[in-house]
């Protein structure tokens, strides 16, 4: 079980997406998943070992590290990637349900099970709203947990059993900050893509509805 599972999942979703949806999948694959696996994981790999406090008191380093990093950046990043990719499953399930229904009744009930209309449109819109919601929630979480998107060189810690206020040094703070900004930028890009896809679908289908009603009235 690894990221390859998520990759296969998203490839399946690609079939039933709009053009903007496909761009979103490409951005998630290449600029988020690949960057995470190829670069970010290695930067944070030894973060605890390399976290150093100016004290010999046993336990002080552990306690200070836990105080300043309740959940590591990389874990939050991984959770964000998983939660943001999962709403697309709703669409896959709905299409599978449609195909199943057609099989059970042995007749063509839909123009095409993968075509985004009717109930599938609602599911698709809900998945877009959920995706955007998760992105925003995680960005706010990052901001609140770490007081902004900066990573300081030095943090001052006075949690027991540290005997007084102790200087603790974080490893590779600049590199971590660069990748954190990269994460925020790609999240914002994905939010923009989701919102444009939402507005595109809403416009397209309201125009379609309006034209249908207009032609009906004229007849």
């Amino acid at each position: 079980m690894s990221w390859a599972f998520l990759r296969d999942l998203l490839s399946g979703v690609n079939k039933y997406s709009t053009g903007i949806g496909r761009i979103w999948v490409a951005v998630v694959f290449i600029f988020r998943l690949l960057v995470y696996v190829a670069a970010a994981e290695n930067i944070w790999k030894y973060e605890h070992d390399e976290f150093e406090c100016n004290i010999k008191q046993p336990g002080c380093e552990n306690v200070c590290f836990d105080h300043f990093f309740p959940v590591s950046h990389v874990r939050l990043w991984a959770l964000q990637l998983i939660l943001v990719s999962t709403p697309s499953l709703l669409v896959v399930f709905h299409v599978a349900y449609r195909e199943n229904r057609e099989k059970r009744h042995s007749q063509t009930l839909y123009k095409s099970p993968g075509e985004i209309d009717g109930g599938l449109l609602c599911t698709y819109l809900i998945s877009l709203v959920l995706k955007t919601g998760f992105e925003i929630v995680f960005l706010i979480l990052f901001y609140k947990l770490y007081n902004g998107f900066k990573i300081p060189h030095l943090v001052k810690c006075d949690v027991r059993p540290c005997p007084n206020t102790v200087d603790c040094y974080i490893s590779k703070p600049t590199e971590k900050m660069i990748f954190l900004y990269f994460l925020v930028a790609t999240s914002c890009l994905c939010i923009v893509l989701n919102l444009s896809e939402l507005s595109y679908l809403l416009c397209k289908y309201s125009v379609k509805c309006y034209l249908k009603r207009y032609t009906k009235e004229h007849r």
């Binding site: 030894y46 150093e52 406090c53 040094y169 660069i178």
Partner: protein, 262 residues
């Protein structure tokens, strides 16, 4: 999810590239990505553990390491490779869009349909002309820009391409100017120079491909202008033949579609 997936994604683009583009893709995968994964990552693997400063002051090593290596070579190369590979996706998307349009035309039973079945559309290789030419040329242009930007960033951040053995650091909390020693400096210099050399080769290949495409474009234009000059009102003999063939194909296509739907 790893570099292999990128290979799968970009492999599809290979079919619609020029010969120089295919060479570029091979150089990218063998001399850059493979070297990065198989060799360079091992060389830089222990970079902070084996970065040693001549002081016992806690925190001095961390701060000095961060000061001299704001972003590791390995990560910078990984980002460079990702950014340089991405413009090829524009071409992949354009080809996918064209295929989608042709499939729609085929399903509607359009008279312009030139294909016998959907499999032929799927496996067809599109020529680089028209709007696809513009997409392809822009993708090469972006590739060049990304390569140049990353090479400059490298040069600017590390004051050249050499990895020194010793660095003198006096960032706080180091008590005074302290000697810090980098691990495996010669090996790192060798790999840095190798990666820079291969980047330069890729830049040359991209420039050559750009020139080739521009030359082809201007030659085609001058040919068209020449044809229009000599035969302004009559169709070419070849064009007439082609038109007859197209009509025959569209008639048989129509019959195939009718047979298909019934």
């Amino acid at each position: 999810m790893d570099w292999g997936s990128l290979h799968t994604i970009l492999g599809g683009v290979n079919k619609h590239s020029t010969s120089i583009g295919k060479i570029w893709l091979t150089v990218l995968f063998i001399f850059r990505i493979m070297i990065l994964v198989v060799a360079a990552e091992r060389v830089w693997g222990d970079e902070q553990d084996d970065f040693v400063c001549n002081t016992l002051q806690p925190g001095c090593k961390n701060v000095c390491y961060d000061h001299f290596f704001p972003i590791s070579h390995i990560r910078l190369w990984a980002l460079q490779l990702i950014f340089v590979s991405t413009p090829a996706l524009l071409v992949a998307m354009h080809v996918a869009y064209r295929r989608h349009e042709k499939k729609r035309q085929f399903r509607k039973g359009d008279k312009k349909c030139e294909y016998k079945d959907i499999e032929e559309i799927r496996s067809q290789r599109f020529r680089i002309e028209g709007s696809l030419w513009w997409t392809y040329t822009s993708s090469i242009f972006f590739r060049l820009i990304f390569e140049a930007v990353f090479m400059y960033a490298f040069y600017f951040m590390y004051d050249g391409f050499r990895m020194p053995r010793l660095m003198k650091c006096n960032a706080w909390p180091c008590p005074n100017t302290v000697d810090c020693f980098v691990s495996r400096p010669t090996e790192k210099t060798v790999f840095t120079i190798f990666m820079i050399a291969v980047s330069s080769i890729c830049i040359l290949l991209n420039v050559a491909e750009l020139c080739y495409l521009l030359t082809k474009f201007f030659l085609r234009r001058s040919k068209k202008a020449g044809n229009a000059k000599h035969h302004p009102n009559h169709e070419n003999k070849e064009e007439t033949k082609q038109n007859e063939m197209n009509e025959l194909i569209s008639d048989s296509c129509q019959n195939t579609v009718i047979g298909f739907t019934s």
